[in-house]
Symmetry: C2
Subunit: 158 residues, 2 copies
């Protein structure tokens, strides 16, 4: 009775077919029910998933790059010619007792500067209590801020 190997081979074939059925149930795109087609569709589907992941990661990186670069980067991103062509930038910070801080900024106008400046002050823990902004040729900003430790409602938290 050589049915030892026979039964083993039957069980093996059944295992393989079961896995194949599982695969067919996971992959949504099934062109044909062929074993070969199932494997081929599986490969294509996996590549699509990888591509999808790549796109999503790219999208996330794009969104993270849209984050406010900070006001200091403004000076960094000005090339030397721009620096010389315009009036000398000014970036004064006067810190009084009690956490009151006065910030004074003059520099060349640059896209996103106001937003990034406000956002940077917020990041630094400085709440704008009052500020005056003007921009005709260059960018100018005076801001009176207060440090936020336990945040009582203040402007930049709003």
């Amino acid at each position: 009775m050589p049915s030892k190997n026979l039964m083993a081979e039957r069980r093996r074939r059944k295992r393989l077919n079961d896995r194949l059925s599982m695969l067919r149930s996971v992959v949504p795109k099934i062109s044909k029910m062929d074993r070969t087609s199932i494997l081929g569709d599986t490969i294509d589907y996996m590549k699509e998933l990888l591509e999808r992941i790549r796109q999503l990661q790219e999208e996330i990186e794009e969104q993270q790059q849209q984050e406010t670069p900070g006001v200091l980067s403004v000076f960094r991103e000005l090339n030397p010619n721009e620096m010389l062509a315009r009036n000398t930038p000014k970036f004064d910070v006067e810190r009084k007792e009690g956490g009151d801080t006065r910030v004074e900024i003059y520099c060349a106008a640059k896209p996103g500067l106001l937003l990034s400046t406000v956002s940077t002050l917020e990041t630094l823990g400085l709440d704008i209590q009052q500020c005056v902004v003007s921009c005709f040729n260059d960018f100018g900003m005076h801001a009176s801020c207060s440090e936020v430790l336990p945040p009582p409602l203040s402007l930049l938290d709003y």
Copy 2:
């Protein structure tokens, strides 16, 4: 000579083995070289990829929810009690000829209000030329804006 079917079956087996090899080359986690193990690892890997995609989409949605909600939502998000407890909000927009627009805002303080307001004005195509902001109890903002059609450098683009 019955080798017609024989060769066909051989080609079929070769196709299937080729697909299996491709699958093994795509799936990074190969525990064993078994046919059964290869299919099992493939299923596990696909589930990991789907889970990864789910996490990435979740992350993107979180980031998108952090986007500036816009200044108008401030009024919407104030519940009736808050509305009655505070002074009546004021949201005046005076538009003069030539695209010059004066915006005046008074309302209850709210986290992110300054940033969302500036961002909203930018979205509306209004470049802030001058603005005064104060926030002690409530939030107040006066802004002189100009419409941006062909954008000459202006404050909100900076």
